[in-house]
Symmetry: C2
Subunit: 180 residues, 2 copies
DNA sequence: GATAACGCGGATAAAACCTGTCTGCGTTTT
DNA sequence: AAAACGCAGACAGGTTTTATCCGCGTTATC
């Protein structure tokens, strides 16, 4: 179990697909099946992104999610905080005040200010967060765009269209697509 | 549950006491009771510090631990790695290769090199680790030394001596110290 | 207007991890 | 010989993460 969880990983992969989908909403089910992850689990992650103002939801048939902000305005830190809440890197238990010499009543000099150990951890957490805030969805999407062939985006669009068409008129769907 | 755990917190607090104890070994039991933490739990942490070459153990009666290196040569990162092993900030599940369009056989362009998302997380992890590597036990011990009154170190020494004496000749120990 | 797709929220369960306890063993000082 | 000490392993309880299921309200399509 890592500090930055699979939930964040799923979220960012989905958001990168949303970068490419523009104004067309993508449902969490389609995104889950496209990537081979659990649809019901993904469905629990998206509301957090919506509450954080990262995606916008549209309900009902043909509903789904679109990015609520330009991809340049969504950092990795935004996504981590949205999905995981304010999870601390380190949880100081104020052990400095428990020293037996204090007999349950620690003096002011021992408990004033931030614990010296805690301060080091907070500094490390800040370094991590600053680093995460330096990269946006647009940065990673651009990097992917340089690797993927042009045909990939067309194929992706076809796949999504295929799913929508298949649901609209099931009789016309190809048999191997209907199974599953 | 934080990424940097209580085990690390306990370890560093103990190591700071070892900075002050010099060549006199301190037992994990005494360190635990001094700080009001679980002796049996602390006893599971010290062997990891010993394997990492941070402390040196001496067995038998009057045994215990001393720093194996100067306090200036022990960074917070050393302690974190020793206690937690190589715990990753993020565990990439290579979701990029699972895209349904690849039909189970992802092309080279999709899986070559480090996943773009993973790369961002690795960069954040490096920033955190670099930050942790910048502070040593000596730094924090010095900061504490500036806050604590001189009498604290004498009192601490007396407390440790008292425990050793109490065990050496229980009849001479003060009644309230013998309890517990 | 019925149906089905969709987002939303809560209840639930399984797995992993962290904390903490206990026991037995070998070593060393007293 | 006894007691203090480090060491290793087994074990239990609590929390977090992952995952599933169900029912509800909303909306486009037939």
């Amino acid at each position: 179990m890592a500090h930055i969880t699979s939930s964040v990983e799923y979220a960012i992969h989905c958001l990168l697909y949303l970068v490419g989908s523009g104004d067309t909403p993508l449902s969490s089910r389609d995104l889950a099946e496209l990537q081979g992850v659990s649809p019901s689990f993904l469905a629990k992650i998206f509301p957090r992104l919506e509450k954080a103002g990262i995606v916008a939801a549209s309900e009902g048939v043909r509903g789904g999610y679109v990015l609520a902000r330009p991809a340049e305005a969504v950092t990795f830190l935004d996504v981590v905080d949205a999905v995981e809440g304010d999870k601390k890197l380190f949880d100081c238990q104020e052990i400095r005040g428990r020293c037996a010499l204090f007999e349950g009543d620690p003096p002011g000099w021992a408990t004033k200010g931030v614990c010296g150990i805690h301060a080091v951890m907070l500094s490390a957490e800040k370094a991590m967060r600053d680093s995460l805030a330096r990269t946006t969805l647009a940065d990673v999407a651009a990097g992917f765009g340089r690797k993927a062939p042009k045909s990939f985006y067309a194929d992706l669009s076809d796949w999504m269209d295929g799913r929508i068409r298949a649901r609209a008129s099931p009789r016309r769907a190809r048999p191997e697509e209907g199974a599953g």
